[in-house]
Each structure stands twice: as C-alpha cells, then as structure tokens.
Point group: C2
Chain length 147, copies 2
DNA sequence: GTACTTGCAAATATTTTGCAGTTAC
DNA sequence: GTAACTGCAAAATATTTGCAAGTAC
C-alpha cells in the first residue's frame, strides 16, 4: 500500500478511495483476479463504482509498474500485484492461478537470446494442470460414478 | 493437408472448401494469425465467407487437435497449425509470433510437478522482445531523431 | 480553484449463437 | 436424402471512450 501511495504521488496521480480499494483487492488475493471478479468484490463497499473505473485504475497501475497483466488463455485478463514477471500455475479444473518461484527455471531468457537474435524483455511461463484438491475430487468422483 | 482430411473423415466431419482454405492459411503462415487476419486472407478467394464459419472451423480444428490456440496477451487468440505445445517468441514491435524449439528448455514440466503437487498437462512459454529487424530500425531511427 | 478522476452511457472489438438455406457424401 | 455445414444477423462478452459531474489536493 505504501508503495502504491508513493508511486501515485510521484506521478502526480490522485490517491482516491477507489484506487486504494482496487489495489488492496489485488494485493490481498492469492489468486489472480480478472476485472469482473475485482468489480464484484468491490460491490459491497462501493455500490456505485463503475467497471470503467476499475479498467482505468488497472491500466494506470500497469503503466506505473505496480501490477502485472497476465493472460492464461482466457478471453479476459487477470491482474497480479507482483509486477515482476514470474511463472504461473493454472488449475484447469478450478481455474485458480498461483505463482511459481522463478528460481525453478534459471537462465531461460539468456538461452533464448543466445539462440535467436532477439533482445528479450519479458517472459511469460504458464503451466496448466490439476491442483491436488481437484485431483482428489476427481478420483473420488470416479469411484462414485464407476459404481 | 492429408492430416486434415484424414482427421475430418475419421470424425465424420465434412471436408468443405472453407475448412481446407482456413487450414491452409494457418499451415502456410510462419506467423500465427488471429481470426481477423485469417478472415482477411480468405476475402479474395471467398468473398462470401463469414467470420462465424472461421470461428467454427477453428474451434473444430482445435477440438480435433489439428491446431493450437495461443494467446500472447492480446485480446484476441492466434492459431498455430502445430498442435504440440511449444514455446513462442513475440516481437513486441512488429507483433509477429515465431516458434521456438522446445529442446531449448528440457524438463520444465517435471521440475514443476516435483516442486508442487500438481499434475501438469500443458505448458505455455512465451518470450517477449524485439526481433533483429526491429532492433535495426530502432537504432537507425534513433540516429535520425537525435540529429 | 483546478486538474484529475469518477461514473454513466454509448461505442468498439471479439466471439458465440440461432436458424434458414445449402452442400458434402 | 440427410446430417452436417455455411452465412447471415443478432446476442453475448470484454474493453474503451466521451463527457458531465465530482473530488483530491
């Protein structure tokens, strides 16, 4: 939060309740919410907030490097309060998106740069699979339906 | 193309000129086109084809495992005639999307599986950067504007 | 006080759907 | 001949924009 306030001030952007609320929601969710989910979470505290405000705030945050926009193959974007590019792990069953530790994959960028002539600025690693909870549900439902 | 015909037949799907044309376009483009680009490429040969047909055909191809749907953080999807999951390289300047050789990154999946309890089914690696052509343009325009 | 911000409504973009007419087989 | 497919138009979904009213500073 201090980071948000400091960055907004330094760019002469105003510190509004809406912006604080939106940033808080992203910051405090382990999952990576999309605009709609953020909007719905705001609904109880800010019944009159508009989707446009959520979009505008998120775009500002992204420009200021406060959040990262991620896309895991859905037709909507999700937002991550950690602006540093890092790998994500998607459960294709319950659709949650977790962070992974980047240190699992050292020096991917440099191997791409050396084998192509590209100057790499960013990478997006995304793994799709089934989380332990869903795996368990799956196996128990298999037992049920097979009876 | 033989692959397309064989797969369509085996699933009792009809082999229509539209489907052949759409598949051809994806297959023959080094870049990874989105629906709009495919539709525009079709325009000269099939002036009456509809966007809906392009969408429906691509969805069918994806379901049959003939193409891969990719998303590199745009708000539209691109299509790849190589259905095997493999890394992509995006030039953020000219917006082309190239394939990378998967062998550059061995055993990513297994290291994710061993460090989480997830069962990984698919991965998407995407590197963003500037291609050699755009790098060159950039440096020459810098020289020009700085004069 | 004023420049920035919000919230609404309308616009735009992408994708999906329903259905009547057409076509591959 | 018929089930599958196409093309159109309308709907659904996601995002952006213009602008009048409101608010942080």
């Amino acid at each position: 939060m201090k980071n948000l306030v400091k960055t907004l001030k330094s760019k002469k952007c105003k510190i509004t309740p809406q912006r604080l609320a939106i940033y808080n929601i992203i910051k405090n969710s382990h999952d990576h919410l999309n605009v709609d989910a953020i909007y719905k979470k705001l609904a109880s505290d800010y019944p009159t907030i508009s989707l446009a405000t959520v979009y505008k705030s998120l775009e500002l945050f992204a420009q200021l490097g406060l959040v990262q926009v991620i896309n895991v193959g859905e037709n909507s974007f999700r937002y991550d309060a950690n602006p540093k590019s890092h790998p994500h792990l998607v459960c294709t069953s319950c659709l949650t998106v977790l962070d992974l530790d980047e240190t699992l994959f050292p020096s991917l960028t440099s191997s791409v740069e050396s084998s192509t002539k590209y100057k790499i600025t960013r990478q997006q690693l995304c793994f799709f699979g089934i989380c332990p909870d869903c795996l368990e549900l799956e196996s128990s439902s298999t037992l049920t339906t097979s009876s």
